[in-house]
Amino acid sequence: MQQFDVKSIIQTSPVAHAQPRDSAKWEVINGMDTAVEFASTAIEDARKKVLGVADVSCLSRYGVKGPNATQWLLERGIAIPTTPNSWTICEQKTLVLRLGSSEFLIEDQLGGSACTRLASDATRVASVYKVPRADAAFIVSGSEALNLFSELCSLDLREKSLATKDLIMTQVAGISATVIRQTLNGEPVYRVWCDGTYGPYMWEVLIEIATELGGGAVGLAQYQNS
């Protein structure tokens, strides 16, 4: 039998199909080949301020649901958002999204380890069900972000309507997505998650509009030190 090593498996961002293979700079992050740079830092900085779209699908995620999921996570040191459809941050900036009342999506930021820890826990507990995740995930930043969402989403995503810790499951560009508003490095940004198989489509739509509005693609490198 041929020899294979799980460590040699390099995944590709679910969004990659829609991204430029040649002109972007690619790097393997968390085992996933990811576009870290689309243009010079100066250009990307400018885009970020107006309307930047970054692919952060490579962040580690862990999903769990079930009547006992809250308890199970608490026992493993994960902070739980107190109300359904809200989110919170725990150690190492790990995001904890509460999808409805009894489903959770945990997302480590770069350098975080909560998901790896949770994934290695093989104990099976009653009424706790693991939800395998393969999300396409995005950061949308800049002054024109709301202008972009006004075309993609019929909900009011302004600060006065989308409270700081609110999480909404809605349709973005016609497909189901989860959206929160977050502050990263002092800047307000929107985070968007959708099924990875819709990732290329979502990227194309976001970039098309972002470009029209004076922004564009931003590499993950822009967020690697945050």
């Binding site: 294979f4 799980v6 590709t12 996933m32 990732g199 098309e208």
Partner: protein
Amino acid sequence: MIFRTPKQAGEWVNRTKKINFTFEGEAFSAFEGDTISSALWAAGQKVLGRSFKYHRARGVLSLANHDVNVLVTDGIDTNIRADVVEVKEGMVLTAVNTSGGVKKDKNSYIDSISPLLPVGFYYKAFHTPRRLFPFWESVIRKAAGLGIVNFDYPRILKRKTHSHCDVLVIGAGPTGLTAACAAAEAGLEVTIVDENRQLGGSLGYNRAGDSSVVSQLDILLAKAANMPNIKVMAGAYAAGYYPDHLIPVVSDSGINKVRAKAVIVASGAFEQPPVFRYNDLPGVMLGSAVQRLIYRYAVKPFNNGIVVTANDYGYRVALDLLQAGTKIAALVDMRQTGSAAYSAVLAKRGVKVYIGHCVYEAIASSDKSGVRGAVICAYDEKQNIALTDNKFTLECDGVAMSAGWAPAGALLYQAGTGMQFDYDVEQFVPSRLPNGMFAAGKVNGVFELEQRVRDGVRAANDAIRHLGLQAPQNEAEKHVGISPSHPYPMVPHPKGKNFVDFDEDIQIKDFVNAAKEGFDNIELMKRFTTVGMGPSQGKHSNMNAIRILAKIRDLPVEKIGTTTSRPFFHPTPIGHLGGRGFHSHRLTSLHDWHQANGAVFTDIGAWKRAAYYPAAGQSKEDAIQTEALAVRKTAGIIDGSSFGKIEIHGPDAALFLERFFTGVYTDQKVGSCRYVMLLDESGVVVDDGIASRLADDLFYLSIGTSNAAAVYREMQRSQQMWQLNLGLVNVTGAFGAINIAGPAAREILSTLTDLDLSYESFPMSSVRESQVAAVETRMIRVAFVADNGYELHAPMGQIPYLWNALIAAGKKHALRPFGSDTQRLLRLEMGHAMPGVDTDGLTNPFEIGAEWAIKMSKPYFIGQRSLTILAKRPLRKQLVPFVLAENYTGEMPMDCNLVVDGRDILGRVTSISYSKYLDRCIGFAYVTPSKKEAGSVFQIRVDSGALVAATVIRTPFIKTLKGA
């Protein structure tokens, strides 16, 4: 001759910036801010367009976006509304719908034969003989029409965006502006929209010669501008009303769908023309058009005019004309009462006022390009008779006309507002407003400026209270005094040409004729006469049409009612409506590989799937047969990542499956797979798939691509009803799947896994979890496309690695990728009927011979009770596998060709294909149950009508025909 007035307070033109353009080949200049019409009118150009039907010369009518006889073409853009579109440097304009130019339109002869073209003419004249209709249609279409559509028009996508506010105010006249400020002062978030590029509405131009009202407008505008919570959308129109206060607002840049919590409609009223002979000549225009010309564009409408009025408004217009330097030959008031106060003012200015008179007809100038006078005579308002005995003629070069108003109530109607006719204002006014809708100002029957301002505040307060805040409840404003609209400003004339609808050249007699023909209901009359069906949608004609019909039928106006108002309120370009197309699609993680290897893609549900991989120059049919042969002879591999994949966790998982599907799962062994079939409550087959038991409390379900989302949705609903102890996890996107099948599949797989793949330890219909090429994989042994098949399910992101490992390992076995089209052929060769392909919305399991998959003795499953009923009845049809004769070379039957017996229809073909491997045409068809036994022969009627014999055989086809 240049018709510019001295500078007007608040004028919209910028005199320091000159604009050059051409119209009909002639050079013109304008000021920045001029509309095309105002610039041409200022330059003395009177014939601006030709009418739709009779090609009559037309000029300015409303200057309010209803001048649909003045549509122009500018390059690739056509049907531009010259009365409101700003003229731009370098425009090269021509009028639409002319033959040889607007001045000498060759089609103007149609006007002289108009008696031969009565209402409804087209409906009647050209349908016998029928064969000539296409000829006449082409002639009529050329003669009557709008701009010519340029087929090279580029695809311009406009944005469709959403916005949100507490209160949307429609109309930024004094009423709307006041309402917006009042709502904003209460802390509400207000959006105000107006179709004009500058706010102010009639406050900007209804001055009666006194420009001090401008300062009132300035104060109001400054107040609104200083409110950060007022968002202004100017040059944009509220195009329709959709439930729960969704209003699409259309502007040049696209459509903004405004979701409001409350809506204040302050859209004002459209001025309505009095109807008299030749009221359409260039130079005859509405009073408010006169005012717009003067105060917005500083254009003198004419030098020596006549004002004809049936309300007090005409007197105000006369004062505006005087202010602009126009001489007034006479003011003709159709009312017996006249207006003592205004008459005195005008008399003081030396204007002759004729009370109880009418313009009997306007007189065209010799070249019919304008008006040179008007015939005036006494008018009996009560009897609606022109008393022509003492008629006389006055010279003039223009006629201003005022008769009344029609509410701009389209959005109110669309929202379901109850309207009633108010005789105090001779207009329909809202009587029962929907929740959260408010009306104020002229649309609400309130006309005096002070009252309108108060009505704006009142409406704002109503909206504020509606939104749960405190505000006083003001009393509703009520119009007092003389009605702003005349009940019947129509002057009969034996020779007609007294136009009611300028869009479609409809005269009074057309209504009379339509009623005589029996079309005496307003909706029928609209269709027969086409009143209100032109581009202005009856904004200046519907009210008069209703009045005329009321007179014909001798009924009060409110008994006639109005036609139905529908979105959009105003013509909206297709590019706006289309917007950016969002065509969402799902890609598997192997999409790049498929592309690189020449796959042809097909849409299945939301997915793009590789259908087949043609070699250079290879036909689709060849590619499919080649791929299928590889699976039969060596091995093939397909990306099945789009399959629906659902995990059912928990102690009640098996019980759930037993209730949801037709089979038995409680005794299913861990590591084994079972067929699942889903029925609906009526016992119709919905879908099927495979349930693999991974643990006592964990099943892994794989189902077809196209129905997966719906099946998962139904599982969620069932779980909510049944409340079993389990969790459903949809892993369709998180897991990918690969199916490797064919004689060499096992050997290829064995090089990538330690798992014992012997048929004894990994038999058919079983599932194993093991590493394949170091990827944690769920392996399912299925015989969907071939006897030796393995479905490998693994995390979507690791699928490409697994796939490449399989491809590499399969190289020496001639492993070949195959697509979803090939899969269809392969499953047919295996004799698998597919729900949705070989079944339809009425098929029950007995008809497809699926009794084996049903466990009737279970306590419950969806559709069970219906099956007990169906089981008692004789079968009406039966799905059978069939073959055509060996070496059949005739016309190939198609899916859905009928199975016939003489003139009786027995059934239909559901799947048919040639199989190169079997060298036979094989398929499935429904037949009468008497023909279901192997060896029975039935006839298929192909498209040409020929009959093709087919023979029922047993499946799998590959076993029966090839002994494989």
